[in-house]
């Protein structure tokens, strides 16, 4: 067989597999889209501000709104959206199911309960501010492992059992959160509702930096295993036969996604469906290779979240919709559409 003469077809068709050039150009295009979204998010809002004055006059209200409210909020949107979408991609690869997502599987709910308990406890017992993200991480990890194990039927991951277990977990965590809500005093009631609905309200730069650091650490680990995530699409057994230590990979995904979800939930509450809509759309357009899909979801998720948050701020200004409500309003119908598609052609996206 002479490769030089014999088979030019795959090389000619660059869409047939991922190349470095294709990866970089797609990521660059997505980054430009993100910059546009972020600029729009910083410029527009319930109040009209002058950018010139914001930058030239540090004493002006424009400056205070731009640097004190809009910029940290856009930054938080970027961080949280990026993490949720990347986590969605990784979880979908883990369970080989495009309908999996932190919110849908009840992992965010578990994280939120952990965060709320930490908040209530640390007020009573005293405890550092690290308690909230730590407990959120622990509870998210517990939920992830539990959901995964419960969805195993005879050692096989059942796609619909998985989703049903997620439904139950969500209901259960929701009830537990309401229980805590009715036991603790009124002071917490608002923050608890905030966690249930998901919002990017009033973050600080410090919070943003901590969450970003945790998120990047988790993401870096996932990215390093991107090729193994591809192999996982062939099934656990085939992946193992291609040299992947599947048990170790699974543990790595459990821990890194839980770190990311825990960090995201502890600042923004439960924001569902971002991890569903973004990876699905990107996969449809750019293909399934996780070496592209993971960083693309990171950037795409950031852009999507900033855009959703902009809508949340301006739609009924000066009042505000929780951004989690916006993503759920988009995500619900989207999920149904995907479920119907999947029903026709199981697990093929």
């Amino acid at each position: 067989m002479n490769p030089a003469a014999g088979n030019p077809a795959p090389q000619r068709n660059s869409a047939a597999h991922l190349t470095r050039a294709r990866l970089l150009s797609i990521l660059a295009a997505l980054a430009i889209a993100l910059i546009v979204c972020a600029a729009a998010g910083a410029m527009f809002g319930s109040a009209h501000i002058s950018l010139v004055r914001a930058f030239s006059d540090p004493a002006s209200p424009d400056h205070a709104i731009f640097f004190g409210a809009r910029l940290p909020r856009v930054l938080m949107g970027v961080i949280v959206g990026a993490m949720l979408a990347a986590v969605g991609t990784a979880l979908q690869a883990l369970v080989r199911n495009p309908l999996a997502e932190g919110g849908i599987l009840g992992i965010s709910g578990g994280g939120a309960l952990g965060a709320i308990l930490a908040l209530v406890m640390s007020a009573k017992l005293g405890g550092g501010e690290a308690a909230v993200p730590l407990c959120a991480f622990g509870a998210a990890l517990l939920s992830t492992v539990a959901v995964y194990r419960l969805a195993l039927v005879d050692g096989q991951l059942e796609p619909f059992t998985l989703l049903l277990v997620g439904v139950i977990f969500n209901a259960f965590w929701g009830a537990a959160i309401m229980l805590v809500n009715s036991v603790v005093n009124f002071y917490y009631a608002h923050s608890i509702l905030f966690w249930l609905m998901g919002s990017l309200e009033a973050p600080t730069y410090r919070e943003a930096a901590i969450v970003a650091a945790l998120g990047l650490a988790g993401f870096g680990v996932l990215l390093f295993r991107a090729r193994d995530l591809n192999l996982l699409s062939l099934g656990d057994e085939s992946a193992a036969e291609l040299g992947v230590d599947v048990d170790r990979l699974r543990r790595t995904i459990f821990v890194s996604t839980s770190v990311m979800i825990g960090a995201a939930v502890s600042v923004s509450g439960i924001i569902s469906f971002v991890g569903l809509i973004v990876p699905h759309t990107l996969r449809l357009v750019f293909g399934a290779d996780h070496r592209l899909l993971l960083p693309a979801s990171l950037i795409g998720g950031a852009g999507f979240m900033v855009a959703a948050d902009l809508v949340a701020r301006v739609a009924i200004a000066p009042a505000e919709i929780p951004v989690g409500a916006i993503t759920a309003l988009c995500g619900g119908p989207f999920f149904i559409y995907m479920l119907r598609r999947e029903g026709r052609r199981p697990l093929s996206l």
Binding site: G235, L242, G243, G287
Partner: protein, 272 residues
């Protein structure tokens, strides 16, 4: 040039394999030996333990007792990535989650040769293209696997195994659901690989005629034990097959080629 007389260690040797699932013993005391360049067919009725044996040979199932050696080294002592460069398996089910293209699936066979995030080199692409070409898949390279027919998908997975550049290929029913032409092509291809690269091939087969025609050796399994092991003519006798399959079988020779042919011989209304 039969490799049976080689003095080097067998490509794959398994002895006294006992294996099964919790509470369900499947194999008891099965042994095989395959030399480089040889094709071994494992035949037997449904539930005989063919697929289980293949899993044990590939290392995805640990035997309860017995040992598997690759080129004289215990299977259990070989690092999993090195194992993936030595042995390629193609199972019966070839489901793929997510819309990967045919070329992407075949390139996954290069994974044990590549680092974590490294992109496939032109060399890897050449190997993948050659594998696609062997299985008549070049025109489908950019298609999504989900759009293919069952037979096409099977060939994609065989091509992926080939891209692994293994020394041993373990194939579970490689020609099930394929049409005559592709069955012949696939066996011709693996025979070529046996001679060209000294690849050892172990395949489970329902098709006794294919086993007779293409395999160097045949293992006849029934109820988890070996009934006969040897050349096709030694193993695929009317008596052996009647005993194992519990039905009348005609074994003859193809008048034009002299090849062994096996036909069911039980008549639907002749119960005498």
């Amino acid at each position: 040039m039969r490799p049976a007389s080689r003095d080097t260690a067998a490509a794959m040797r398994a002895s006294a394999i006992h294996a099964g699932y919790p509470g369900v013993p499947v194999l008891h005391g099965v042994a095989i030996e395959v030399a480089a360049g040889e094709m071994l067919a494992i035949v037997g009725p449904n539930g005989a333990g063919k697929s289980t044996l293949l899993k044990v040979l590939g290392g995805s199932m640990k035997p309860r007792a017995g040992s598997v050696e690759l080129f004289g080294r215990p299977l259990a002592s070989i690092d999993r990535r090195e194992l993936a460069r030595t042995v390629a398996s193609v199972g019966q089910e070839n489901a793929v989650a997510f819309r990967f293209t045919v070329l992407e699936i075949v390139l996954m066979g290069r994974a044990p040769h590549l680092g974590a995030f490294r992109f496939e080199s032109p060399h890897d692409l050449e190997i993948a293209s050659a594998a696609l070409d062997r299985f008549d898949l070049l025109d489908l390279a950019a298609r999504h696997v989900q759009e293919l027919s069952g037979g096409e998908r099977k060939r994609v997975f065989l091509a992926r195994a080939l891209a692994q550049e293994p020394k041993i290929a373990l194939l579970d029913e490689p020609t099930a659901f394929l049409d005559l032409k592709h069955v012949a092509d696939i066996f011709a291809c693996f025979r070529e690989l046996c001679t060209e690269r000294g690849m050892a091939v172990v395949a489970t087969l329902h098709d006794l005629n294919a086993a007779a025609l293409y395999a160097d050796r045949v293992l006849l399994l029934a109820g988890g034990g070996a009934v006969a092991y040897g050349t096709p003519a030694e193993v695929l006798t009317a008596e052996n097959l009647r005993r194992v399959y519990e039905t009348d079988v005609y074994v003859g020779r193809n008048p034009s080629t002299g090849a062994l042919i096996i036909l069911p011989a039980a008549l639907p209304n002749a119960r005498a």
